[in-house]
């Protein structure tokens, strides 16, 4: 652990309630959506933080957070069950005056509500990030850059040349010294290939000051009301991440990012590049491939029992694929059962579902069929 990382705390803001992954986010936070055969989206930011030596992490949640809390618990798997600092889940409060916190009041409202957490913490710097970007990054490099440039705020971006649709992205414009000159939120016409990765480093006292100033003057959005408003007054610098990163903001981006894991380069970068990705451990036995099993180009987690055919697919822990069943280009989540002779293509089956024998379910690559949690078909 570097000397500087011990002076860094993390704040994961889960305010993406507008993002809808159909049944997958019906009863859970986006950050709690299962991903990559044994993870949840939040495992990536949490692991990146602890791999950078961060030992004080606040998770700011707004709604539907039961499954998230069940997943991260006391933070043991991330070594965040600490006597001092550690993991803090910061939920909305039911106010004594009867006011109900607004689920769509934005990330600044979440930060403001728990501003005490920042007052109480001891670290000088804060990484503020979101819960839905898939990447394996060394955040100490970003901190070093932040310290070297003398920036007030450093934001993380990635160059995405092939991308044409930036309607769900924040475009970053920088000068030759990588100082941020301009930001565009969800533009219809794209004019910069630098895409914001919703990750910022700044001093803790500056964060408190900026949140207070923005919220007290009607602000609700970190990018709009903290960054854009202050681009003239503050030194905001960009830090480029050149590795693999995907922001999950739709069912399509979720499905595509999942399928990209089947590329060996993506697999080895995402799971090994700057440290392991930690997740809640289950005591499942190894996968058993029985007689008649065929598995090709697939990611499979422990506890699965394969008797049928699995092709270009992702199987979460404890999935059963019975004899003669064929799972193709699909994602099958924890403990679901694909019955004898069933055929699935471009399907996402959420946890604990039963697909009965000889069912045939076919979605489209650009529009996968989603089977909700606990379904019996």
């Amino acid at each position: 652990m570097s000397m500087t990382a011990s002076n860094l705390m993390g704040a994961i803001i889960l305010a993406d309630n507008q993002v809808n992954l159909k049944e997958l986010t019906l009863r859970r936070q986006l950050a709690a959506v299962p991903f990559g055969a044994r993870y949840r989206l939040i495992d990536f930011p949490l692991s990146n933080l602890v791999n950078a030596g961060v030992r004080n992490v606040g998770v700011f949640v707004q709604e539907k957070y039961r499954s998230l809390m069940d997943h991260i618990g006391i933070g043991k798997e991330w070594d965040l069950n600490r006597q001092r600092d550690g993991l803090f889940i910061l939920p909305p409060e039911a106010y004594s005056d009867g006011a109900v916190p607004n689920a769509h009041s934005g990330d600044l409202a979440l930060l403001r509500r728990h501003i005490d957490y920042f007052f109480r913490s001891k670290q000088e710097y804060v990484v503020v990030c979101c819960g839905s970007i898939i990447m394996n990054i060394d955040l100490t490099q970003m901190l070093t850059k932040h310290l070297n440039t003398g920036a007030d705020i450093t934001l993380l971006y990635r160059v995405e040349k092939d991308r044409t649709d930036h309607s769900q992205a924040v475009e970053v414009f920088t000068d030759e010294n990588s100082r941020v000159t301009f930001l565009k939120v969800n533009p219809i016409v794209s004019s910069s290939s630098k895409i914001l990765l919703d990750t910022y480093i700044l001093r803790r006292d500056l964060l408190i000051e900026l949140v207070d100033a923005a919220v007290s003057s009607g602000g609700s959005d970190f990018v709009m009301d903290v960054l854009i408003r202050n681009l003239g007054d503050l030194k905001v610098y960009g830090h480029e991440f050149s590795g693999y990163a995907r922001k999950i903001c739709s069912l399509e981006t979720y499905f595509n990012a999942s399928m990209e894991l089947l590329t060996p380069e993506v697999y080895s970068e995402l799971f090994f590049a700057n440290g392991p990705i930690f997740t809640k451990v289950k005591n499942e036995p190894p996968v058993v491939y029985l007689d008649g099993a065929t598995a090709k180009n697939s990611l499979i987690a422990n506890g699965c029992r394969i008797e049928g055919t699995v092709e270009n697919s992702i199987l979460f822990r404890g999935v059963k694929v019975e004899k003669g069943a064929h799972v193709k280009d699909s994602i099958i989540m924890q403990k679901s059962v694909v019955g004898r002779g069933a055929f699935l293509e471009n399907v996402i089956v959420d946890k604990d579902s039963q697909i009965s024998s000889h069912k045939r379910l076919v979605g489209d690559r650009t529009y996968p069929l989603v089977i909700g949690k606990g379904s019996a078909l």
Binding site: G36, P264, V281, P285, P286, V288, Y289, L290, A301, N302
Partner: protein, 393 residues
């Protein structure tokens, strides 16, 4: 603090018969079943039976075993009251000594047992693979009003001479104990699982410790002395799967017993989970060129080649065109392009070079009759090498 029953788990054995696999670690720490270590089965039995106070007696090569057990959280044995404690030999004011035998190891830790003032002491071995509910055995022990109860399993009479055999009366009271008898009179073999009334055990252990002729061993000394002393010893018949994995052959066999549609030992039994320390590896990747049949594969494995009737631990790599059959690949082993392996145990981190051959490929012989080849931990088999037998040095 009072505990009704405290377990003493004997895990100090070197396991010389496991050869290269136990050069650097104790037998109970040897990997087993694609994910586990041998001691996981006994510790999981404790957790699943409600035995929450376990002393683990260690002596040989304790580092890996000790750090593996840690504070016992993997088996839910990190308790405020009780829990797991590792008990190595120690130095006393009057000088210290190694554990001289299984009984002596427990005798040297009477102080630990005194802390809990137990009614019963469960003595276990850390080198057996089985699922057993010790609470049922304890209920049987109480029902019989026994001073000691020994779990037994029926073995073929032809093999009985390899075991400690209990000769019993019609009520399963033990009348005679014979260690590896040449002419066995009975087929009830001791499983190395004992329940003693603590007061009786304490008396016999203390007497035995003062006996210069004694080997201070439960099977050789304590049990015969208790029989001679007219104590009530009963046999508790166990009918499930039980295997002593003390030899390389039996370790290989026990791994193979996990395979098949109806395996002899079922790891997928949700009513009796086997707990272990999880390595936290990414999901396994089975490539388009892979063929995996009748095999257990753990997380972190990347498979391009073929695997059949094998047990594959985390982080194993099997390259394109490589073929692994009837084998056990320990954590992090690498089988490179075109290598072939049959009936082998490949140690942790070992590398089987490109187009190397390990084992004997003779379709005219049944796999069970072929000799087993063992490649030690971290060994490097150079490309193209042919290894037909275990290297002994």
């Amino acid at each position: 603090m009072k505990k009704e029953c405290v377990a003493m788990l004997l895990a100090g054995g070197q396991g010389t018969r496991l050869g290269v696999l136990t050069q650097k670690l104790a037998k109970p720490a040897v990997p087993f079943g694609g994910k586990y270590r041998i001691i996981d089965f006994t510790l999981s039995n404790c957790a699943n039976s409600g035995v929450d106070t376990v002393g683990v007696l260690i002596q040989y090569r304790p580092l890996e075993l000790h750090s593996y057990i840690g504070i016992g959280s993997a088996w839910d044995l990190d308790r405020e009251r009780g829990g797991v404690v590792v008990l190595p030999p120690f130095v006393k004011a009057s000088g210290g000594e190694w554990y001289k035998g299984t009984a002596n190891a427990v005798f040297q830790n009477l102080e630990y047992l005194e802390n809990y003032n137990p009614d019963y002491v469960l003595v276990l071995s850390g080198d057996h693979v089985y699922k057993m509910d010790y609470s049922k055995m304890l209920a049987y022990h109480k029902e019989k009003g026994a001073d000691a109860t020994i779990a037994v399993i029926r073995v073929p009479l032809s093999e009985a001479s390899r075991f400690g055999i209990m000769n019993t009366d019609e009520n399963d009271r033990i009348v005679e104990f014979e260690e590896k008898p040449q002419k066995p009179k009975n087929d009830l073999a001791s499983m190395g699982v004992y329940i003693f009334n603590y007061s009786v055990l304490k008396r016999y252990l203390t007497e035995d410790a003062g006996d210069p002729e004694s080997a201070n061993d439960f099977g050789k000394n304590i049990i015969p002395k208790m029989l001679k002393g007219q104590q009530k010893l009963y046999a508790y018949r166990f009918t499930g799967y039980w295997k002593d994995v003390g030899t390389l052959e039996s370790l290989w066999e026990a791994n193979m017993d996990l395979l098949g549609d109806n395996p002899k030992f079922d790891l997928f039994d949700r009513s009796w989970r086997i707990y272990t320390v999880n390595p936290n590896m990414p999901p396994q990747f089975i490539a388009g060129s892979a063929e995996v049949i009748d095999t257990l594969v753990n997380e972190g494995c990347v498979i391009y080649g073929k695997a059949k009737r094998s047990v594959i631990f985390p982080g194993v790599y099997i390259g394109q065109g490589a073929e692994v059959t009837n084998s056990v690949l320990m954590p992090g082993a690498r089988v490179l392009v075109g290598a072939k392996i049959n009936k082998a145990i490949v140690g942790a981190g070992a590398v089987i070079g490109e187009n190397a051959e390990v084992g004997i490929f003779d379709p005219s012989q049944s796999v069970e009759d072929l000799p087993l080849v063992v490649i030690g931990d971290g060994e490097d088999v150079p490309p193209g090498t042919v290894v037909r037998e275990t290297r002994r040095d």
